[in-house]
Structure formats: structure tokens, C-alpha cells
Symmetry: C2
Subunit: 362 residues, 2 copies
């Protein structure tokens, strides 16, 4: 079964309709939103076909924009990645990746279990030649003109050595160029201080490696940055291991949420503060929109043969639509091919640099 | 030279007047504030005596509450810790710690260079028997009834193995009991997920060790927690290595600051939003007070023979006064002695547990 004739010339996004916290309803609502806004996207939808057809009809997704792949099984949030890799062949997640692997879609989007999605992606799509550890990159609200910084890895793997961090820098630069139209992104390496003698041994080694590659890979290396620079304007791309990155974004999210809750409490404290909140509502909504996580929904898996986007499990229709838009933007820019070429051109050289560095005891 | 007779019966805090971003003026202003609020504190003040005497007179610190130790040198923010350890004998920071070492003060407070303060503290005060790595503990705004969580280590060392993390749990529990009056604090171990199979190898080992000690050390171990739990209500004490902890708090601080700035921008957008901001000002100040970092100013160095508190380099008088209050509270509760006893009683046992675990390949 191939894409229908109506899909010709379109950018095709493969969507795992299952596995989100709120079920397939919001995923289809997101698709409907994207389909209305952008006539150049076609969808391949994976999940129980009968159920999905009803939802597509209900949401009035325009004719001929969706084809279906019937899959009986669903990956749940509780499923262990190793279990899904062995037994997940009939799941919508597996099927969604299969469309990318076979080349019938330009990218995949799923709201499902992150660990399982990464494990399946690595097994089915395989790592790009030259990449040791794939990474998950997210966008984080920042003071930069583009409004967001890229940060990676935020949880594909809990470890990263110096060469992995170099790959993250190359992949992050490529993502910032293609996803955010920054011609010469500034890369920062996350550490506990900005002095060159600080931090863990692998960070000093990575500092030297990334420095060596900056010119050739067309990015600016701003050196070490700190946690406060993740929402700052010193760098566009923040490079770190998946353990640190995951803790950092969850701390930032948790702190933002606490402030939001306390702000609501503060405004409901007295009749006067409730009146103020009515007058302030436009201002507060303007702020909310500026840092709305739904606008930047979507962790991109980098370092694989194909683009996979992990949408937040709790995403609503706006969030799903944002993840689809990101997949579309990246596909349109030819990101997957450019990234593969970039990594391939630097992989051998990185190998040489690392070897000579370890030989000279640098 | 010993404390003056007026100081008898008081709790004596040794204060390094130099090294803060704004100079000794704000430090003395903070001391004046504390002295007026609390008649039971006496101060030993370290720095250039002539300059300090003038500031003390200007701020009208009550008579007989301050004695001086004249020191010509100052540790700057740029000084490397190793340099200060070798050449810092005439600095106010060294002298401030000396008062604790000699037993003439119950604790020390400094706004100076964190790395130098930790290095000097380790050299002059020495680690408690049974402690391998000291830790810096801070308070973080949270949803808990006490309003704050303890987090450690936030930057004493970039590494921590399983036994260090156990020590952090014991020290953090003791700090929460004595500094925040929580009789049975809940301890969480920071990881990238809450499932027991997740994360780095040393975290799984630490999970088992901390579990084993919970009953004996009179705390609840809630297991793995995530970055979002640092401002949450699942645990009172968050245990992590100094690299991760440092990145987490700086990310949280940076995110909070970004939201504050954007909130101000949102409220100055139009005449109506400016009007709303006038009406909202009490609500916003209530929020600001709730999460004001100055209220919880002070990283406590744990695991040394003596209490050392690092006040923020940019602290104002309110911040310095908060750090002094924390030193006072801890001294009054006999924290240093209780912590030493706690660590000593568990150190040998931890050794046994770790050895038998490594023998059985657990």
C-alpha cells in the first residue's frame, strides 16, 4: 500500500495516533488543525483504523489528506523499551517509524513513551554513520531574538563522552540552521563555570574538540556556559549529556510551573487582587503565549536515518499541530540529508583528532 | 585576643566582610539589621579594621556587638582556589574561618568566592571523620508546607559516588531537622526517571545504600525523584552530585529571572497593561516575597568541623542578614555537633554495607 495519488508533491508526515495521555482524539484534532493551515502536508495515520476513521470524519480533516495503517497494538507509558523492541511489531509506534524507514513519509511524530520510541527508532531507522549516541533536542524559551534556544541531549542516553558531545554540537548546529534559520549558530558547552579549567575531564576534552571543528562546521563556539545560560542569550545551542540535560529542563519546567501557580494564588488573594487580575489578563496571556511550551512542542531525535519527533505525552491539539509543523519545516529544508552529510564529513576527522589527542595525552 | 565580655552568652558569628560584589558596605548593613533584630548574636568582623569601624559607626550597629580582626588582604572572585590556599593567610576569608577553627565563633559567613571558600574550609576546618566529600546545601522554593526544599550538593565537587550520595542524604536529613525543624524529613535521590532500573550505575547503588539507612537515620526515603520535584512536594531533601545540582539551580534561577523580566515587559506593553500593573502590584509583591532568593540566601557547607555559610556574592543587606540568621539557627540547635555524631555513627556501617555489596556483586 502506497500513498494515495492526492499525496503527490506533498510533504508526508507519519503520525502515531496512539500512546498520548489523552488518546487519539487530540492527535486527530492536531492533524485537522495542521491540515487546514497548511495544504502542503499529507498524513499517514497509524492505529486502529475504524476508530481513527471516525475521529478524522468528526474533525472534518479535508478529503484525501490522510491515509491509514491499521495497527491493533499500542505502546503504553509503562511498557519497558526492551519489551517493545521485542514484541512491538503490531504497535502504531512501530508502524509509524516503518513509514519513515520505507521512505513513504518524510518524518514521524509520536506522543508515546519516549524510551520506547528512542529504542525502536534506533533499531528500525539505525544510527547515522559516524554517530555513536543519538540525542534528543528540544527548544527552550530564551532571551535570544529567535525566542528559543536548542538544548541537547535531554534524555536519549544518560552518558556522553567527549566525542559524543562533539557530535551533539554538530547535530545541534545543523538543527538550529535548518529548524530555526540561524545561519551561524553559537554553540555553548554546559558546565558548572565558564573558566576553562573547570568541570569534568570529558568536558575539557570536548571543549578542545568542539573548538577545533567550529570553523569547518560553520558555527561559533562560545565555550563553557552555565545553567543560567539555557534561558539566556549567550548561545543558541546548549550541548550537554542526557542526564544533566534532562534534570535541567525538568527543573526549569517545574520552577516555571511553581511560579505560574503562585501567580494565580497571588491574584486570587483578595477582591482587589482579583480585580487586578481581570485587568491584567491580556498582559498575562501575552506572557503565557511567549513561554507557552505548546508552541515549541516536540523533542527531535537527532543522529538517526530519518526525522522522528517526540511530542509531549500530555500535548493538546495545539501541541500536536506544533510538532507536525516542526516535522514539516525540517523535511522541507532537507534537514535529514544535510545532517547526514555534515556528520559524515566530520566523523572521520573527529576520529583522527581524538586519536591524536589521546596519543599526545592532550 | 578573645571575644569581649559583652559577647558572653551570645552566639558568635564570624563574618568575612570582604569579597562580596558590592563591597563591605552591604555586609555591615546586613549585620546592623541582624543585630537590631536579634540581641543574642555577637559578631567577629574580618577585614581592614579602619574601613570596617567607620562602616559599623555609620550603620549604628549597637555598642559591644562587634569585635574586629584586622586583615589587609581580600580574596577576589577571580582568585583560583589553589592560589588562595597557598597565599591567602592574610585574607579576611582565612581569618573568618580561623575564628571557627579556634572555637571563638559558632559559625562563619562569607559572600566571597565559593571555590576559594570551600578549599580554605577544607584545609583549615578539615572534613568530619567519615565524610569523603563535603557538600554545599541550599534552600529552593517549593510547594512543601515549609516553603522550601533542601538540595545538595550544588557545587562543592563535580563528582559523587554512591557512598558520597549516602553521606549527602545523612547530612541533608540532619540539616533539614535542625535548620527547618522537620522531625522526619523525606529524602529523594535525583535521577532522570522514578523507575528503579533507570539512570547511572552509581545511582542504583546509592538507592540501595540510602534505603538501608533510612530507618536508623530517622528519615523517609522516597526513592528517585526528577528535576520537577526540586520545586515540588514529594521530598524535603534532594540529593545529587555537585555538577548536576549546580546546573539545576542555575537553570531554575535563570528561568525564574526570564519569567520575571517577561512579566515586567508584558505589564509595560500598553496603557491598559500599565494600569493593571499598578493594581496588581500587591499581588506581584506577595509572589515576589514568596520566592525571594534573599529570604533563603546562604549555601551551607556540610561535612566539615564547623559551620560555614556562603552568602550570594550579589547579596544585599537583607540577603546577608538572612545568611546570618541561618548561621544563628544552626548554631543554636547544636547542628554541627549533632551532624558530626550522626555521620560518625553511620560511617563505619556504610563502609561495611558498601564492602559486602561489592563482594556480592550487588
Amino acid at each position: 500500500m502506497t500513498a494515495q495519488p492526492e499525496q503527490t508533491g506533498k510533504i508526508i508526515i507519519s503520525v502515531d495516533a496512539m500512546g498520548g495521555d489523552a488518546g487519539p482524539g487530540v492527535v486527530i484534532a492536531g492533524i485537522a488543525k495542521s491540515a487546514r493551515k497548511n495544504p502542503d502536508i499529507g498524513f499517514i495515520l497509524h492505529g486502529p483504523e475504524d476508530e481513527l476513521r471516525k475521529l478524522v470524519a468528526k474533525r472534518r480533516v479535508p478529503e484525501g489528506r490522510v491515509v491509514f495503517r491499521d495497527c491493533p497494538d499500542v505502546v503504553t507509558m509503562e511498557d519497558k523499551p526492551s519489551h517493545v523492541v521485542r514484541n512491538g511489531k503490531n504497535t502504531s509506534m512501530w508502524s509509524a517509524l516503518e513509514s519513515v524507514r520505507k521512505g513513504e513519509a518524510h518524518g514521524a511524530v509520536s506522543c508515546g513513551n519516549t524510551g520506547a520510541l528512542m529504542a525502536l527508532s534506533m533499531m528500525r531507522l539505525r544510527k547515522l554513520p559516524g554517530v555513536n549516541r543519538p540525542a534528543i533536542a528540544i527548544l527552550w524559551p530564551s532571551r535570544n531574538p529567535q525566542g528559543f534556544n536548542v538544548m541537547l541531549d535531554v534524555g536519549a542516553d544518560v552518558r556522553a563522552d567527549a566525542k559524543d558531545l562533539l557530535q551533539f554540537a554538530l547535530m545541534g548546529a545543523s538543527y538550529a540552521r535548518n529548524g530555526m534559520a540561524l545561519t551561524r549558530p553559537r554553540i555553548g558547552l554546559l558546565n558548572v563555570g565558564t573558566e576553562e579549567h573547570k568541570g569534568r575531564a570529558e568536558l575539557k576534552e570536548a571543549h578542545a574538540l568542539i573548538s577545533d571543528f567550529a570553523e569547518q562546521a560553520n558555527f561559533d563556539f562560545v565555550g563553557f556556559v552555565e545553567g543560567s545560560d539555557i534561558p539566556g542569550d549567550k548561545a543558541d545551542v546548549i550541548v550537554t549529556d542526557g542526564f544533566t540535560g534532562n534534570v535541567a529542563i525538568k527543573t526549569g519546567e517545574g520552577t516555571a510551573k511553581l511560579i505560574g501557580d503562585l501567580l494565580r494564588e497571588a491574584f486570587s488573594y483578595s477582591p482587589l487582587s482579583r480585580l487586578a487580575s481581570v485587568l491584567a489578563i491580556t498582559s498575562l496571556q501575552r506572557l503565557k503565549k511567549r513561554i507557552d511550551p505548546r508552541r515549541v512542542n516536540g523533542g527531535v531525535f537527532l543522529g538517526l536515518n530519518g526525522t522522528v519527533i517526540k511530542s509531549h505525552g500530555g500535548a493538546d491539539a495545539t501541541g500536536v499541530s506544533a510538532a507536525i509543523k516542526l516535522a514539516f519545516t525540517l523535511a522541507q529544508s532537507g534537514f535529514a540529508e544535510k545532517l547526514a552529510a555534515r556528520v559524515a564529513s566530520t566523523a572521520d576527522l573527529a576520529q583522527d583528532v581524538a586519536q591524536s589527542a589521546s596519543q599526545t595525552g592532550k
